[in-house]
Symmetry: C2
Subunit: 261 residues, 2 copies
DNA sequence: GCGAACCATATTGTGCACAATCTTGCGCAT
DNA sequence: ATGCGCAAGATTGTGCACAATATGGTTCGC
């Protein structure tokens, strides 16, 4: 009687089911109607897949037309996105896909390392049964990553690579840390798109597999070490790509890559 | 020529100045006009000072009258607050000050411990000169806390106690971690208000002083240990207060303490 | 007397119209 | 030819009016 009003859902998102902890992965910003959440998710997807690049102007009326909703709804969505540092709102000028600065990236990396180390530690120190469950799920995910690479599907590869980290966080069970990481991953995706030219090394899949092995074995130190390496790898690549261009002419010229449609 | 457009600011907020890193303390949600940010800040202040209790209904028109702005502005502010889990927006029912659940508090505590340990570690491992600067600032803050206690100003005491932690984060220099902690502290303030009856031990000031001594001495391990103790102290008190009442009759009855004006 | 449907009121949700602001392109003077 | 100013168009910002929904009390039927 006094239970929640969500009797029978689950088993609707296709492949990602059977594991309740993964339910938190779905983006559900509060205060938005289902229709708005849909559009919100599509925007985030577009960013994760690099279809929306940093600096692109998001014209309200255009978005309204694309998603088939009114301009005020778009307006609310943009406001929410701005709270998560995914969109930059300039007064009287409009909304732009965020272009993270050097300092922001450094901060984000520090936060990410902090969160993910905690996540991996949590996973690796769970009971054997639960750990087996988790590892099995993540191995399947890596399988999907491999397929995407084999098929040459660059977009899917990028998306799945980021999702791997989010799935780990979801499985660790802390909703708050998961949401923090979601924001960070999105921002990092933007930073990589903006400042990295050869983004061949977003996330090497072999490192994912090794990390998973360590978790499987319950080897805390090794898992921690591998993760730290993995992330510092990314950080070095990104921060190197950004080195010196920040707030400089190059960054300004980089803004050219706007252009709608 | 290619520098930022912030030539000479600073030195405007009265007592809290002379330290650039503390500038990040001021709440500035993006996408809100200055007028809206003002109202936003007042709402957060009211929550930090326990003048706004969890579960209280926030009627749009009332707030509009109080702050002297239009209803649509209030609407935007509430949407932003909902993104930070400070306000719960129920469709067609209205906005309510959030009442964190047991699970949310656990997650928040884990995140908080993670962030603050990193903050304290960062502070304690800074160079001697910088460390002296920081410690001096924080000691002055503790002085203010003492005064509030001596004067019997309960409201100021609560506010300053929470602010101590935020100042440490601000001085550590990571903006993103700071903002995360701001959200967590606000939520925790709500949780304490909602579920703790004798909230005499929000934060004991002597623990702040001890922690600061350890940072001053550059004693990483001791600082880390003291912080962990300090927070676990709080956690135990809160989670004990909440034990069993979650989603139960008690929680439902607790909603009675609404009443506007 | 009890319960259920109904209506009045209060509150939130949404679309629209217009105001404010920025951008762009043109023309004019130097 | 170059730079300045101005006007037209495009885009964002805001208030208002009305629709949709929830709430609480009342009345009617059993």
């Amino acid at each position: 009687m006094a239970e929640n009003a969500k009797p029978k859902r689950r088993r609707s998102a296709g492949a990602v089911v059977e594991e309740p902890a993964l339910a938190g992965l779905e983006l559900r910003p509060p205060g938005l109607t289902p229709v708005e959440q849909e559009a919100y998710r599509k925007l985030i997807d577009a960013i994760a897949a690099r279809r929306l690049l940093p600096g692109v102007k998001l014209v309200e009326e255009d978005l309204a037309g694309i998603f088939g909703v009114s301009r005020e709804r778009i307006r609310r969505i943009l406001l929410v996105l701005s709270q998560h540092d995914i969109v930059r709102l300039e007064p009287n000028r409009g909304a732009y896909v965020a272009r993270p600065t050097y300092a922001e990236c450094q901060d984000a990396f520090e936060a990410r390392l902090l969160i993910e180390r905690n996540v991996v530690r949590a996973l690796a120190s769970m009971g054997p049964a639960r750990r087996r469950m988790i590892v099995s799920h993540l191995r399947r995910h890596i399988g999907a990553e491999s397929e995407a690479i084999a098929a040459g599907d660059r977009v899917a590869e990028i998306r799945l690579s980021g999702e791997f980290h989010l799935k780990m966080a979801a499985l660790a069970g802390n909703q708050r840390l998961l949401r923090m990481l979601q924001d960070i991953v999105a921002q990092m995706s933007l930073a990589l798109a903006a400042h990295t030219h050869a983004h061949d090394l977003d996330c090497s899949i072999s490192e994912h597999a090794e990390l998973l092995d360590a978790i499987d074995a319950g080897d805390l130190d090794r898992a921690d070490h591998l993760l730290a390496h993995h992330l510092e790898h990314m950080e070095a690549a990104l921060l190197h790509g950004m080195h010196g261009e920040e707030d400089s002419l190059a960054a300004a010229l980089g803004e050219i890559r706007s252009g709608n449609a």
